[in-house]
């Protein structure tokens, strides 16, 4: 996992609530056994007017010009501004993979679905929860200001606008540590290998039917 550095990125608004992971990456693209290449099919059914299947050349497909990410002003976007309960539904990590592969580094929403939220941290994509009033304000700003950018500083847990407005955000200390240092969680857990073995042995003695 790459280290998360402070950056200033272009913001795009996705103005609907309860965006589910089937919408983020439809099922026909889950048949891949790789982790990469999902970005071209991010929001496939909203982004393209024709039906997408795996292996299609996306440069030859018919774009839905009304879909926000197809608008020229959002080219090179790195921050997605979303509504409540973003990422609900299926546990597919393909959803964060496709957002990251498309170029997103941060998603801002008033709330996220639990599994999606968790999955994002595992790959270095930062989901940020801001109160709905602030999110409403940012939607107004991003829609009215061309090239609207935000600076995301994870170390200090701050989002800053070009007008120098500053919003604080909360993040779990352990997850922050992992993101800032690009740490492998499995490696960290294996530092406790002896403790896991002891726990397991005790459990095996007490509830042997679990180990049959």
């Amino acid at each position: 996992m790459n280290k998360f550095h402070t950056f200033t990125g272009l913001v795009a608004p996705l103005d609907r609530a309860n965006v589910d992971t089937d919408a983020i990456i439809p099922k026909q693209f889950l048949k891949s056994i790789k982790r990469s290449g999902f970005g071209q099919n991010l929001f496939d059914e909203w982004r393209y007017l024709d039906h997408g299947e795996r292996g299609m050349d996306s440069s030859k497909r018919v774009l839905n010009s009304e879909f926000v990410l197809n608008q020229a002003r959002y080219s090179g976007v790195e921050i997605l501004l979303a509504r409540a309960n973003f990422g609900c539904g299926s546990s597919r990590e393909h959803a964060p993979w496709s957002l990251q592969d498309f170029g997103f580094r941060v998603i801002i929403a008033p709330s996220f679905a639990d599994i999606f939220f968790n999955n994002c941290f595992k790959i270095g994509l930062l989901p940020i929860i801001l109160d709905s009033g602030t999110v409403d304000y940012l939607f107004d700003e991003v829609k009215s200001i061309d090239g609207y950018r935000l600076t995301v500083d994870l170390h200090n847990q701050l989002i800053t606008t070009a007008k120098n407005e500053v919003f604080n955000f909360a993040v779990d200390a352990f997850r922050k540590h992992c993101l800032l240092n690009g740490l492998d969680e499995i490696g960290l857990t294996l530092q406790h290998a002896e403790k896991i073995r002891q726990f397991e042995q005790k459990r095996r003695n007490e509830q042997p039917w679990l180990f049959a």
Binding site: D15, R16, A17, N18, D20, D22, A23, P26, K27, Q28, L30, K31, S32, I33, K34, R35, E45, H51, R54, R83, A84, N85, C88, G89, S90, S91, R92, E93, P96, S111, F112, A113, D114, I115, N118, N119, K122, I123, D172, A173, F174, R175, E185, I186, L188, T189, L190, H192, A193, K195, I196, F199, E200, R203, Q207, P208, W209, L210, F211, A212
Partner: protein, 473 residues
Amino acid sequence: MMQTLYDKLWSQHVVHAESDDPNSMTLIYIDRHLVHEVTSPQAFESLRLAGRKPWRLNSILAVADHNVPTTDRSHGIHDPVSRLQVDTLDQNCDELGITEFKMNDMRQGIVHVIGPEQGATLPGMTVVCGDSHTSTHGAFGCLAFGIGTSEVEHVLATQCLLMKKSKTMQISVEGELGRGITAKDIALAIIGEIGTAGGTGYAIEFTGSAIRALSMEGRMTLCNMAIEAGARAGMVAVDDTTINYIKGRPFAPQDELWDKAVAYWRTLHSDADAVFDRTVKLDAVQIKPQVTWGTSPEMVTTIDGSVPDPSHIADEVKRHDMEQALNYMGLRPNTPIQQIMLDKIFIGSCTNSRIEDLRAAAQIVNGKHIAANIKQALVVPGSGLVKKQAEQEGLDQVFLAAGFEWREPGCSMCLAMNDDRLTAGERCASTSNRNFEGRQGPGGRTHLVSPAMAAAAAIAGHFVDVREIQQQS
């Protein structure tokens, strides 16, 4: 201190906590790891690249369910991409020595059906799977939740997960359910009440006399849908119903271990005075057959209701979402639910493909035939063993005589990763769990209902009140 069931399950599995702060990340031990073909290949690949091995092989049970065809399997899988994913699972399991029920094994089926069916899901366990509907297994008084692929790899490598303790929510359903009302109707009524994000951050325990009266199949349906209410885990306390279901299953303990296990399992309930962070109460008597009208499970109403009218919604975001949903669903505001005409019927999925579900549907269609406007009606049993049981009871003949297709087990048209799907504009009464845009096929329109309601709709060609049908028969 009085504990909730969730508190008990959690504290039993803490390997290591970074601090005393209950909100800190905690290392939790995982007892059972269920694996399917869609969310595991990248985890196995990364494990291999890192030079690691699975921590405890006998904690893992694997099955291919999402991509498998539900038609004749004697020639394998026709779609090369689906085939590669299933072959990859087979290879990973063979190489590492993981127990797997392969496609033509009688025990193959939907992962959330076969775990309990085999006794691989036991009370007091932590159960994970790279699949959000892992919440299903909470019906057995265990802590079961869906994980992403990175976490699948984490569990393979360490037998643990790093996580934060959830808040607890009690959903109490007291009273007796009306005739024809099922666990599916309870689940949809709850989601209608608290919303698809209502359970976010919580582990839900379902309590009350209506829950106690449910069979294990019903409890699985209910816990399955906990994730559609936003909760990663749903659970029901252990009682005689739980223990009687498990007894004698292949992976269940036997003899003196059985007695020892049962004695422990009997402690798996919330203490009488345990405090939940939130409590929601429903009156069972008030629950009617539910039908979703939109593109989120919370967009639900009752069979005697109508499609809502966005012009009555004050909140701008909500109104916009409702308009979008109605547009996608091709529905006009204020249309009575019973006037919605259907094209396809799907009875199956990890929510409703167990023997009790098939019996309930067969009872409705027995001696009748699907309506002329129904282009296809599928029954997809949850496992090979469910299929066999149903055939022994003659249910397959009831469905076939009524014009249904009787298929091989798998996830099928719940998410349409195999060939079973809706085409654009087709409208389906489905016993599955998600009515998201495109879920059952691009442009497909899904209405979530119980098996009995789907069966009744197949006969009528449109939604009907199953309670009225049952009164006639």
